[in-house]
């Protein structure tokens, strides 16, 4: 089956009416997509393993005892999301692996390393936090016990969710020597420049905060404004402060967003006692990010005082700016040129499993264009020719990595 045919099949799993998918981590749709993947891996002659945090590996033993070149991405999605984010990279990895196995079988490629296709568990972090969960556990950035104990808003743990879909494994994951990932850009740079493939040199720094505003319940109709401790009124100020901070920095230098907010008790006639919000602050410049972060905390404290509530930062994590190895970028440029693809060197604003993996092994991250830069939405689109070109480049890159051309 052609890549596009197979991708259409995968996209039918958890399909939404607007042309997207909803396959949040550990849900039934995620489980179905994973079973579909296992069939594809097995059919390609790969041996399938699942590790303790639900990462799925399809391994080929080409050089007994040698470490593995990992290639993959993630099948999980955001709610009502696009069908390309993550899933494209996983299926592209299956096709790239088939190509390499065929090359080895035909005697045209002499492997130095083994290879394994991987579907990382919960890259998105929409249902369970933090994001980059499976890849983070693989590199040791996250503890397995901590990952398994994380709970969604309904109180279901990762351990329960993985058991529920039959993907709580116990296999020792394969040792890696390098990692490659192909992903959609999720921005507009490649489209604007007319470039075919993005060569990712590094990633923006990001701070993720979980903030709880503690107020006191009251009657919206009978409590004087002066007597209120309204958690939602102050939470709204925090959202505005975060949004407006962006305008104090050079255009495009800082991104902020609050994507999630939960209100208790969330009744139309009750002053809220507690609001929890997830704040995302990003910059390519780590110093600017820290300045912005410090300003926000200062202003949050002032807003708390003004609103007669308590503002508590219950979780704060920093994803440092990343720099991927230049040798990998250079190698990717070479194979892209061989494939006739134009390239553009760039940074990624979004987080990726590749950024997590880079802490452990040399990593290469490739992008293909996203129409209008839309992502995390059903309208997400990458054109067929760009999809196929990306698979071709990844296959060539994987062959070089398996041959030992990087590091």
């Amino acid at each position: 089956m052609s890549f596009l045919q197979e991708f259409a099949e995968l996209s039918a799993i958890g399909a939404t009416p607007g042309g997207g998918v909803e396959r949040q981590a550990g849900t039934a749709a995620d489980g179905e997509a994973r079973r579909w993947l296992v069939q594809r891996l097995t059919a390609a002659g790969l041996a399938v393993d699942v590790d303790a945090v639900g990462n799925v590996f399809g391994r080929a033993e080409l050089v007994p005892g040698a470490p593995h070149v990992l290639v993959g991405s993630h099948l999980d999605s955001q709610p009502r999301a696009g069908r390309f984010d993550g899933a494209y990279g996983v299926l592209a990895a299956v096709h790239a692996a088939r190509h390499v196995l065929a090359e080895v079988a035909a005697g045209r490629l002499r492997p130095r390393f083994n290879l394994a296709v991987v579907d990382w568990f919960n890259e998105e972090g929409s249902r369970f936090q933090p994001s980059l969960m499976g890849s983070g556990a693989y590199t040791g950035a996250l503890q397995v016990e901590q990952v398994l104990a994380a709970r969604d808003l309904e109180g279901t743990s990762v351990a329960q969710a993985l058991e529920g879909i039959g993907f709580r494994g116990s296999a020792e994951p394969p040792a890696a020597v390098a990692y490659a990932e192909l992903h959609i850009e999720q921005g507009r740079a490649l489209e604007r420049l007319g470039a075919d493939v993005g060569l990712v040199e590094g990633g923006w720094a990001a701070r993720k905060l979980e903030v709880v505003v503690h107020g006191v319940q009251g009657h919206t109709g009978a409590t004087a404004m002066a007597d209120r401790h309204d958690a939602l009124a102050t939470a709204a100020r925090l959202v505005c402060l975060a949004r407006d901070l962006v305008d104090e920095f050079p255009d495009g230098a800082l991104l902020t967003a609050v994507g999630r907010m939960t209100v208790l008790p969330n009744s139309p006639v009750v002053v809220a006692r507690e609001v929890r919000l997830s704040l995302d602050v990003r910059s390519a410049d780590p110093d600017l990010l820290e300045r912005a972060h410090a300003l926000l905390l200062e202003r949050f404290a002032a807003a708390a005082e003004r609103g007669a509530v308590e503002v508590e930062v219950v979780r704060s994590s920093l994803r440092p700016a990343a720099r991927l190895p230049a040798a990998g970028v250079d190698l990717a440029e070479v194979v892209a040129k061989e494939a006739g693809a134009s390239t553009h060197r760039m940074l990624t604003m979004a987080g990726h499993d590749a950024i997590a993996l880079d802490a452990l092994v040399p990593t290469v991250l490739l992008f293909v264009p996203s129409v209008e830069g839309v992502s995390h939405d059903e309208r997400e689109l990458t054109r067929d020719e760009d999809l196929e070109r990306g698979v071709d480049v990844l296959a060539r890159l994987l062959a070089r990595l398996v041959a030992g051309d990087l590091g």
Copy 2:
């Protein structure tokens, strides 16, 4: 059993760890409280009926064919609420009815009307909107079909919820000639003045709006600020606009609050596509309320433009300022004096079933003090002596109403 003993029994149903109750309309706890009430009504010799929207009536036929003096309040509560709001008035009505029946039986009271204790369905409006649902259906302000079709955030309809707890009835409700209700103040006026009983002369006007902000999903880490249509960023501005508007009016003249906000898809890394919020605007002065409302709509439109989103007011209702009949206030003052209670004439900022009933029949609304004015919270408190004094005043008032002393 004494009033306080019975009230402790009722307060144990749906009790929360912090000394409150959670018995939202149509939930299992509401059903349990209603079954408890039915036993009490039956034991008092009242005939129990349930109407099509779940209002519970306990009737005494004292004068065959005569209309009824209704007396009661509501057993439903807000989430994690106090134990007095509503429930106090229902149990007080049971005690007042017992008193009147005993007076009639002893030949000390000659009834002109019948009486019925009532538990109105869903006064609170936390789970199902609008509030004042049972009393609104009784007066004809709401249509029965519309009430039964209202759905909570999980999609359960009122009809389903009432069936679930066994309180979807079909009885014709009793015809009313007058209505009396005893309630906690939920404010600080009586406490500040040291008055025992509040005589409610009327109610504030209120506007309730349901507003939907329509945005577009996007990636919080990869979508440039200029390309966003962030529903939550603008919704937060609306909350701030509503809060800050209060400061443009004389102190205490205007109240605003947003108590509920739901965010879609509510993922930490997705720009929100839709936010729905419930806005509550109140004033004793109807003209001031309309000026405030017009200003808000104007500013909401500007915020929508600034945020590149659409702001839609999907529901807007006006509860006009109410004036309860002076004859009822005077009568209540007389019986309060007989009971040795000091009184204070006042307005209610909060809505009550009594305000709904006043559209149909002469209505008397009495308040007892709330410690520190706290309400819609577990800390809600009215002292035992105030509770008992209120029951005494209500019993005396009910006797006079049944004797035909009002209208």
